[in-house]
Amino acid sequence: MAEFKLNEAKLDELVNALKSEGYRVVAPVEEEGVFVFKEVVDPGEMRLDVLRTARSIKEWFFPRVEPTLRYKFDRGSVTCKGEMPQSPPKTVIIGCRPCDSASLPILDKLFDWDFRDEYWFKRREATTVVAVACDAPDSYCFCTSVGGSPDGTAGSDLLMRKTVGGCYLFESFTKKGWSIIETAKGTLEPAGQNEKVLVGEVPKRFDLNSVKPWLDNNFDHDYWKEISYKCLSCGACAFVCPTCHCFDIQDEADLQGGVRLKGWDSCCLPIFTRHGSGYNPRDTRDARYRQRVMHKFTYYVDKFGLTACVGCGRCCVSCPIDMNICTVVAGAAELAETST
């Protein structure tokens, strides 16, 4: 039950209150015609009405590029300095959707598998996630097919739900969420007993339980060739995706020294699996696209118990050739049904 609510007219005040408390406030902001999560400078920039930003919140935990190591050359020897951020700034991300926040526990599993990636976890610890429930999903949304919902709470510290009366109910689940409420106390009002919440509906498009067995048994099915003829093998889908996490490690240096960088990569790009010898086990588009779907919908499930897709629809929107992963998986579900 939500105890507090915020009148949407006071959103600016909320931002200011958070900033005064030392939070770096990150929210959807317009940048050259696209909405992305950026640090809010002027509270008026914050746009909680945007259903789907171009990119997800993952870049605030897993940057597009970051150094792991800096080194200097000195007459044949090398001195190194680790670059892991020891104390990332206290941050609050406001305005992501429940699908976005649901991606965080999914990725936590991988980044904590045996070797704990502190680059990820230090930022996780320093960040509070305030999601906004969706009252108006669109046709690209399919969170309910992958275990989510328009007002899901996985991964968030606090959920804001829009009411009929132009307010946001504040529901907190964690200590971090309560800290936000504490900080925002001056802008909040007590919530009523029967607040009418605007709830969006996302029809379920497929059943994961029938999809996974089909995927496990149909690696060589012609379906993969049929759907991937049009794939361009770019990295757009992986980069805008909240749960895609593949990365590359590159050295950039000159004669004095250099830096080792960790940066985004995509299994769909043609040379992702190419060996130094030139041999590439996935050198066709159907092999690469199949890998993308399999990794998200079955391999990750086998390894970590969670589907690596939150149904946000970003890949579908950003794909140059309208490859819609929901349609692809629904197609597999259909094949699963007709084959039984």
Binding site: W113, D114, R116, C246, A253, C267, T273, R274, G276, G278
Partner: protein, 278 residues
């Protein structure tokens, strides 16, 4: 301070050996001697070796875990990082992250006959097992080492081949592909799968460790099957493009395994069950 999993050990090149055209072995010692003494690994594990400024590269640890304080790697020059590694000199600095991955089942191999097969540069991970067995010779029964190469000059660890040949308690069989022999070649001439059938080791109480090019492994596995070996008795190690080596970057994901975590050592049975995308 929390551990940074991407930080390498700093190593110093102590020895370089040119094994064959394009193939080199580096002996690396830890610049931090305490870290070196504390460092341990098991045969079959790998690491990410880097030349600062060029990049990181994945190779198995080719030396035996019974020998402390240093590690060895052997590689073939194919790209940027291997080119840089090959131009290093004694005293130069190399980065090393590891040991990663799983390992050959040395404990299970104890008390058994071991057949260790290496083809070309694939002999490198097998060498770790060979010396591991030889350093603990009494723990194993018959040790058969079968080494193959395209030609005589492409054989790696030539000096060690001679050592193993001279050991009375090691059955070393060396072979080169037809056409790769020299007039003074005193080993066999024939592809490894054929030679394996000739040597005809018994599958009773035996474990096979094999590494080499994919096609070599494929046909040798068929020969081993003919001899009665079950796919669970045969262990191999996969070479895959890797970047992080610790299960995060996704590059080595094949089926529901990550070669860097669930491998690189797999039984032939496990390999068969994976999508053939490696």
């Amino acid at each position: 301070m929390s551990a940074d999993i991407y930080q390498p050990y700093l190593m110093r090149v102590e020895e370089t050996t040119d094994e064959a055209p394009g193939i080199r072995t580096l002996k690396l010692v830890f610049q931090d001697t305490v870290a070196g003494q504390n460092f341990s690994f098991r045969a079959g594990q790998f690491g990410l070796y880097s030349v600062f400024g060029e990049g990181e590269c994945t190779f198995c640890i080719a030396s035996s875990p019974t020998r402390k304080g240093y590690i060895e790697c052997s590689f073939q020059q194919v790209g940027r990082v291997t080119r840089a590694l090959r131009s290093l000199e004694v005293g130069d600095t190399v980065g090393f992250r590891g040991p990663y991955g799983n390992w050959f089942p040395l404990d299970e191999m104890k008390g058994k006959n071991v057949i260790l097969i290496g083809m070309g540069i694939g002999l490198a991970p097998v060498r770790s097992v060979i010396w591991n067995c030889l350093d603990l010779r009494d723990d194993f029964r018959d040790v058969t080492v079968i080494v193959g190469s395209r030609s005589v000059d492409l054989l790696v660890y030539k000096r060690e081949l001679r050592q193993w040949e001279e050991m009375p308690d090691v059955n070393l069989v060396k072979t080169v592909d037809p056409g790769g022999e020299t007039p003074d070649w005193d080993g066999k001439v024939g592809f490894v799968p054929t030679v394996v059938e000739e040597v005809a080791p018994s599958p009773d109480n035996a474990i096979v460790v094999i590494c080499g090019p994919p096609i070599g492994i494929k046909f040798t596995l068929l020969s081993l099957e003919k001899l009665g070996f079950s796919p669970d008795q045969v262990y191999t190690t996969l070479e895959n493009k890797m970047k992080c080596g610790l299960g995060k970057c996704g590059r080595c994901n094949v089926g529901n395994t990550y070669v860097c975590k669930d491998g690189p050592v797999f039984t032939a049975a496990q390999l068969k069950s994976l999508p053939q995308e490696f």
